[in-house]
Amino acid sequence: MTNVAGMDLATQLSALLPYLVLAAGGLLVMLVDAFVKSLRKEHLSMLSLLVLLGVAVANFTGSMSLSDRTLLGGMVVNDQYSWFFNMLFVAVALLTVTFASGLYDRDGHYRAEFYPLVLFATLGMMLLVAATDLMTLFLALETMSLSVYVLVAGNRGSLRSSEAGFKYLIMGAFASAFLLMGMALLYGETGGTSYAMIGDTIAGMNSASLLLKLATGLILIGFGFKIAMVPFHMWTPDVYEGAPCYVTGFMATGVKAAAVAALLRFAWLTLPVLADVWFPVLMVLAVVTMTYGNLVALSQNSIKRMLAYSSIAHAGYLLMGVLAYLQTGRDIGVATRAEEVGVAAGGAVLFYLVGYALMNLGAFGIVTYLSKDRKHEADTIDGYAGLAQKRPVAAASLAVFLFSLAGIPPTVGFVGKFYIFDAVVKADLLPLAIWGVVNSLLSVYYYLRVIMTMYMKPAEDDSYSGGSWETVFAAGVLALMVLMLGVMPGTLSQLARNTFKFMAY
């Protein structure tokens, strides 16, 4: 092997340990399922959880010797930014596996492919954030997407699930085509695929060439699809509704976080010349995205669909943070305190992603918990009537998650929104912040509607009832975390800010 980046192979491999453990673990779970006949169904989920814990340990110990290290000849980078998101994705995957296995155990028809697919999708997410080369970026994106397409269609008997998987696949392929075209143009313009090379070329330009603008625009469309940005969002409600609820939670948190994280790294790369070009478009799209999401969510009767539109709205809030960051690259007043505003904005987005993962996964966890089996998910809001009496812990947890999604203190959702709006105001975008607040107000209605149904309506015969204790336990812990981070956000927000600072400055 040649020693590309000046590091010997052993060092490089040890730095890549989290990814290697995860890939090997995924394969192992698949092989165990195929060849170990005496296997009981719980064993696969236990094995997957062990693999994920191993990844967490590998990632954590890796952080001890953390420095800005480019690996595999510039294909991926091992920095605090990727470290931060690796932790988030592992946590998301752990919870997804926990929720899913709870339902599988009740249901009896377990699907062995589920566990390796979650592991591979997680690997894709991790690499997506670590990628510093267009090639890695695309491979990681497809690793993630292909696994998720199958996961969405995982309810094999259900027509809706198959339809959702099919729609997601077609639309995803469509979006990938745009992304790939953008990458090709970018390669044509800069003559390289590595971020370092692209960055150098861009730094040498006075203004953005048409080709560069088109290239990055197409790449932005590709990312916009993944984070459910209007007008590339049409798949979201159908897919979120059709997919099994634990997969929906996985997509809404993990996939979205990965796409936003990669988008931020890409925005940082192209900031100097493209901030002015991207800014007006993203401004319009952010406003439309959150308003559209919130408005349509108002008239939903399916909780999964409601959360799908809410997820679109949250994409809008996240874009507000990205906009505040872009503002620092523009040739205006903010540029004089670029670092202060940039760190506030990037830190806010990172914090929000963690908070959003906690509260949204928690909400889907409760939906999973209340589902009788995979054919009968706890989807219609009316079925939540009287839950407060029947399942007080589940109802209280779901109430906490919904309050948090609505941004009501003392929850992490409130603090996250506060940081985003604060960054937006610092970036001299006061009207945008006001619009964000108005949107939050709108959203309160549909979140509270569910809480009202749970607490103020009497239970009916067909109201949902409980499921496995692991699920509600995990969701209860999430609810406590949502509250705790709402009261003491200091440590996490400091970490998020530092992480973004190391990546971007």
Binding site: K167, I170, M171, F174, A175, F178, S207, L210, K213, L214, G217, L218, L220, I221, F225, V230, P231, F232, M234, W235, P237, D238, D276, V277, P280, V281, Y292, L295, V296, L298, S299, A344, D422, K426, L442, Y445, M488, P489, G490, T491, S493, Q494
Partner: protein
């Protein structure tokens, strides 16, 4: 290593009672009663032991270095606003922590017996532990915001415990009253914090916690212009929590709670939070003479005013409640004349003897089958020997008889009021002191002397309380006797250890600093040497005068101390004599001036009625007619809420039509969006 252990001990002082409350609270229905009670006692006992450990560590340090801090985590970080979750113990916090956990422990033990037959036993101990947690947060918090968290926490627990027996409408109303009146005070507190925050924030270096007491003290010179405003706003908070005029009205009603609660929260600890806060913010208050004058005046007037009401009350706990209001007035008076150490000294001695008196009254009430009216008591001296002796000690301590604890602290306050505040303030305090001795002896005479006036049924049940209740009484009685010896003043040949201990906290760095700056500035000027010579000679003159003064001062201190001792003894004897031998005189007093005076006092100067007429009724009227009917129902509900809801619902339903489930349509939207995007990129600059 050892230092580290001591620092982390600080957080456990606060957290252990919280854990106790959490365990008891979560398992409230499943926990066996015995274990719940013992667990709660153990939690507070651990807090006390840890407090002693840290205080011993403090004692071992240099006087100026005495500070142990324990920072848990950053709490808020919003640009320049930086707040930590952390605890700190200096000399002042040490005194408070020992009093709170120590007296708190005794009252927990007492409650084991007092609440033994109550259905809400576990709930009671949960709240009690929660209270100790909040109170310790208040006194150990490292910054003003932590103090405020504790401040609100104790307010909540006070509310929960006042209306502990909430099946009775009156108890629930009393709890509500306490909560609402305190909210008014808290509003002032918050505004005061805002004033300090907005003044200091622009001046701080990055990462300095604006509300940290250390930082505020360091930057105190910047607070000069807002000191009066901020000081008075914070004092509004203190009048609520520490029951001063005009917000004292909730405390007498708060006696609706169980008696251990009255002893712990409404006598020994929570109500002194306002005094603690002012002492803690001394660097702010010394900057404003106006604020100090207001505090001294309010304190002195409250001291006398509440004492007069206590003369006529017939409910044993109400007498003690007004007595508490009056004593809190003395503490405020001390703070107002700048004698913060004397104020805190009285906080401590008062905690001992007032907790003792309340617990003693609880023992009486317990024996009398829950009767609280003193007109139906009497002659309990023989039947409740332990209660009687300890109660007597508490009474003489409160009256301020040498050598009991109250003598030293009250005398210190009166002397400081005389020497630093003026004769008017002293006279108010002095009159109040005589009345205190009188009404306490009235209480003792009616309760313990003479014949028992209760029904035969009740008489039959009278018995001394169990050991869990009498042991705390004995311990507190010993403290009520000896607690004052920590601060024997110099003129009596003592060292006043207490004041020396607290001295570094109240050391006026800011002022001294400023003066030194001024001198230095002058010395550098053209007139430098002349000024220096003048300054030296002035200093010498000052010293000489001070020496002369000293002898005169000591004589004056002797005179005042003797006068107040004689005055207290007179009050005590009169009280005994009238209410045991000459009941006719008391009746004559009631008829004095056509009975009008008695009526006014009995009805507490009609203050509640005045508030009702001046504030509550107009407030209700405005809420009902203007705010509710016109603004809320008409404007907000009718136009804004329903109107916008209809609009939004229409838009929402329309947008929903786009989601028709057809893949081809989705792809079309995607493609046209992309096309628009690309078009924009092509034509834009």
């Amino acid at each position: 290593m050892e230092t580290h252990a001591v620092e982390t001990a600080l957080r456990w002082i606060v957290l252990v009672p919280l854990i106790g409350a959490a365990v008891n609270g979560l398992l409230v229905r499943r926990m066996p009663r015995r274990i719940a009670g013992l667990l709660a006692c153990a939690a507070v006992g651990v807090s006390f032991a840890l407090s002693v450990k840290v205080v011993l560590r403090l004692v071992g340090m240099d006087a100026e270095q005495r500070l142990v801090t324990d920072t848990l985590a950053p709490w808020l970080g919003l640009g320049p606003l930086h707040v930590n979750i952390g605890f700190a113990m200096d000399q002042l916090s040490a005194v408070m922590a020992l009093v709170v956990s120590g007296v708190g422990f005794l009252i927990h033990v007492y409650s084991l017996g007092y609440m033994a037959h109550d259905a809400g036993y576990n709930r009671f101990f949960t709240y009690l532990n929660l209270f100790i947690f909040a109170m310790l947060t208040l006194v150990l918090g490292e910054n003003l915001l932590m103090l405020f968290v504790g401040w609100e926490g104790v307010g909540l627990c006070s509310y929960l415990l006042i209306s502990f027996w909430f099946n009775d409408e009156a108890n629930a109303a009393a709890g509500k009253k306490a909560f609402i009146v305190n909210r008014i005070g808290d509003f002032g507190f918050l505004l005061g914090m805002f004033v300090i925050g907005t003044t200091l924030l622009p001046e701080l270096h990055h990462g300095e916690g604006v509300f940290s007491f250390q930082v505020m003290r360091e930057y105190a010179h910047l607070l000069g212009p807002v000191a009066t405003l901020a000081g008075l706003l914070l004092f509004v908070g203190a009048t609520g929590k520490s029951a001063q005029i005009p917000l004292y009205i909730w405390l007498p009603d708060a006696m609706a709670g169980p008696t251990p609660v009255s002893a712990l929260i409404h006598a020994a600890t929570m109500v002194t939070a306002g005094v603690y806060m002012i002492a803690r913010m001394n660097f702010l208050y010394v900057l404003s003479e106006t604020a100090m004058a207001v505090i001294a005046a309010v304190g002195a007037v409250t001291a006398l005013f509440a004492a007069t009401i206590a003369l006529t009350q017939n409910d044993i706990k109400k007498v003690l409640a007004y007595s508490t209001v009056s004593q809190l007035g003395y503490m405020m008076l001390a703070c107002g004349v700048g004698a913060f150490a004397a104020g805190i000294f009285h906080v401590m001695t008062h905690a001992f003897f007032k907790a003792l008196l309340f617990l003693g009254s609880g023992s009486v009430i317990h024996a009398m089958s829950n009767e609280q009216d003193m007109r139906l008591m009497g002659g309990l001296r023989k039947k409740l020997p332990v209660t009687w002796w300890t109660f007597l000690i508490g009474t003489v301590a409160l009256a301020g008889v040498f050598p009991f604890a109250g003598f030293f602290s009250k005398d210190e306050i009166l002397w400081k009021a005389w020497s630093q505040g003026g004769i008017g303030l002293w006279l108010l305090g002095f009159l109040g002191a005589g009345l205190t001795a009188f009404y306490m002896m009235r209480l003792v005479s009616l309760t313990f002397f003479g014949e028992n006036r209760a029904s035969d049924e009740v008489k039959h049940h009278i018995h001394e309380s169990p050991a869990t209740m009498t042991m705390p009484l004995v311990i507190l009685a010993v403290l009520s006797l000896t607690g004052g010896w920590l601060g024997i003043p110099h003129f009596m040949g003592g060292q006043n250890h207490f004041e020396t201990w607290l001295e570094p906290v109240f050391h006026q760095e800011a002022a001294g600093h400023h003066e030194a700056d001024l001198v230095q500035e002058l010395e550098h000027g053209a007139l430098g040497e002349t000024v220096a010579v003048l300054a030296t000679s002035a200093h010498v003159t000052h010293d000489v005068i001070e020496g002369l003064d000293h002898a005169g001062e000591e004589a004056m201190e002797w005179t005042l101390a003797s006068a107040s001792l004689a005055w207290a003894l007179l009050g005590l004897s009169l009280g005994t004599w009238i209410y045991t031998k000459r009941q006719g005189l008391a009746a004559a007093g009631q008829r004095f001036a056509g009975g009008a005076l008695h009526r006014v006092l009995l009805n507490k100067y009609y203050v509640d009625e005045m508030y009702e007429a001046a504030i509550l009724r107009p407030g209700y009227a405005v809420s009902e007619r203007v705010l509710f009917r016109t603004v809320d129902a008409g404007l907000i509900d009718g136009l804004l809420v329903n109107g916008s809801a209809i609009l939004v619902a229409i838009v929402s339903a329309l947008l929903r039509l786009f989601q028709n489930g057809r893949l081809r349509f989705y792809a079309w939207v995607f493609a046209s969006g992309a096309a628009g995007f690309i078009l924009y990129l092509t034509v834009s600059g």
